[in-house]
Symmetry: D2
């Protein structure tokens, strides 16, 4: 089987490193492009990431020597690239939105881990087991935005990925769910690196994540939504 | 007994907070001035420090409403100030040195927690139990630097404060110490806040502190040194 | 003011140590008796507890040299003892019940931290702010059990002590509470010493405490209950 | 290649579980026997170990249904057993020594993780990279003890396994080592399960392991020793 050639945007951050860990041996995907901020651009991946590597495996050999591309340097995108996974981190959501649009505009399907486009109306937010049919929004998105082959798809907040699937299964089995009262106990890794200071968490629990409650209330409505007539 | 009116430079950081915790009820000292970066200047202390307060006690009431002064705004130094404790943090040691000099130049004795002046030849680095007689260097410092009433005194690296005292006591008791092999197990609080990321330290030990080995080798030589003839 | 002379049953365990920490400087109480298992009996308190002392203060001097009494050696109860706090730990609840009865029978009021008597019908389970009037059950208990001066009073499970008070306040203020959904995040200290193994809890959360759910459901009913006509 | 059929003595404890984790997929070894205390005997492995399983992998399927044998029930030793790994834990070292002798006496080579036989003169204590030639003591041991095919071999204390190899390499390379000053920072897993209470170690370091210093001083002498003429 021929593998898909994929790129990782934001490849040096914690989420980007996780993409590398998960995809490095994957039967379907071959990582051919690692992009990050101008600060890392031009360095080999191993140079760019070195002391920040957080994964429980060594940096894969085939990734080490890839040259990191500036995520906004579209000239250097490898010709054979099939699509990209986005884990870019920028000061504002607007900047992230714009970079992600640029990739779609240039013909690349983009699957994003970011929250920036979760509420863009024609961007589907998908949990495979629940609303995979939302991919049917893609042609509408392409028409709206004047994309040819490219498009944007996102995933929801991490904690609801865990509990929304069984909720959906209950609904499917005929048990109507009227109300959810949700308490999440989340690992510090969710905050990325450097993330939570040890002085805040050793022997303690941090009871609040900024923005989490709003996402918890709102995002399931999109995941569980139906596509109407157009 | 009349208390000394003291100021804390760098009062919003972790070391500054510790000064406040330690001095707030002290029989000798009254905190009358809290100074920090321009970002905090003009705010009340409680506003400036709020979510960063790390001490195991609430912010003392008499400190809460003090207006934070810009550490480089010498116009606003209270008239009755007797001396200052310095815990300022600036991008370079040269900047710290200069600010600390300015206070001494303006007539204020300054006791610093910083490492910036530890190797300034005429600045004594004192552990009270060991080399308090190094205060005799102060008149020479004042003459060299053209200070009138002001001067600078520093303390050594924190870990050697703990083990150098018994070493000195052994020496005094006639047990000549020829070599020290030192392993320190240091709390994360030593790195300040935010300091050590939890992802680095939970279930782990960080085996290296940048600069610590050099300080450990060199600073005891100054503490244990004798003042020569001049 | 003359202090009450009190005894602590189970004085060497973690709860007993907490009683000592809390009462050692108390304006109303004087600890005159420390009782524990036969293994500790006859030793001084400091000998009996030494490496097991978990409190953040040193063992108080006036407690150190008290001779530990076997909790079932009623001959050696000090004559001036006014009442006892019970933190005894025994293999079965029946054994605890019996020892606690014995003290009441011998004329001592006993306030117990144990769960053994929480559901004994005529033993009041009190949260001072909520149902202090349940002390009116004591004369009935004394009559039922043929106690003269002695009696037994207990407190509920620790976690509900924290949240039941505001619930009660809401009720008192006219906000009827129909349902509680409770998630507690409890410190490892709740399990006593040695308690929770570090291999189970470092970098982890233990999601279940045996018996806690049942206590959470049932005990508030007794605390919030009214004494009927008899 | 035909695999060796091996047994694990003390198979339900933390060290025994590690043996299972390490050997379950091993190209040379097939676990055919799991032995433990009478309390576990007769149960399937999964029943015997269930809530105590500490490994980061599930209990291997081929181990789950093995019936746990009483480690002192020699009748039930599988006929095809080639040799045993010992991780037995008993109240005294003398008891461990005796059980381990019994296996050797009955014809089984026994490789032990226990410290019980480390100082038995004719039992070699081997670090493969350093003193593998100490296996030449085995025939002498067999003659002394009247063993036919069986024998006992042990390994040293875990911490010295880590640092003695480079020390030996330095010696081999001509750098004579005159003195070692050793500070070990050991994980809580070294104490087994339940092992170190969380109240002792969270936010803390336990500075002392009973017996460790003596082992550290003495065991390297045996590992680094040479077999003399006999």
């Amino acid at each position: 089987m021929k593998k898909f050639s994929v790129g990782i945007l934001g490849a040096t951050g914690t989420v980007g490193q996780n993409y590398i860990k998960l995809l490095q041996d994957h039967p379907w995907f071959e990582i051919v492009d690692v992009a990050a901020s101008p600060r890392s651009a031009g360095k080999t991946y191993v140079e760019a990431v070195k002391e920040k590597w957080q994964m429980p495996i060594p940096i894969p050999n085939k990734i080490k020597d890839l040259t990191v591309r500036d995520v906004q340097d579209f000239e250097k995108i490898p010709e054979n690239l099939n699509f990209v996974f986005s884990a870019i981190n920028m000061p504002t959501k607007e900047q992230i939105k714009e970079v992600e649009y640029s990739y779609a505009k240039k013909g690349f399907p983009l699957i994003s881990n970011n929250s920036a486009h979760r509420w863009t109306p024609d961007v589907p937010m998908i949990i495979g087991e629940i609303n995979h049919e939302h991919v049917n929004v893609i042609p509408i998105q392409q028409k709206n935005k004047d994309f040819t082959k490219g498009f944007i798809v996102v995933k929801p907040n991490c904690s609801l990925q865990s509990y929304l699937t069984p909720i959906y299964a209950l609904e499917q089995a005929g048990y109507k769910v009227e109300k959810l009262i949700i308490t999440t106990l989340q690992a510090v890794s969710g905050a990325g690196y450097p993330g939570v200071p040890s002085l805040d968490i050793v022997d303690n629990i941090v009871p609040y994540i900024n923005g989490e409650e709003k996402k918890t209330e709102e995002e399931p409505l999109k995941n569980l939504g139906k596509i109407g007539k157009i």
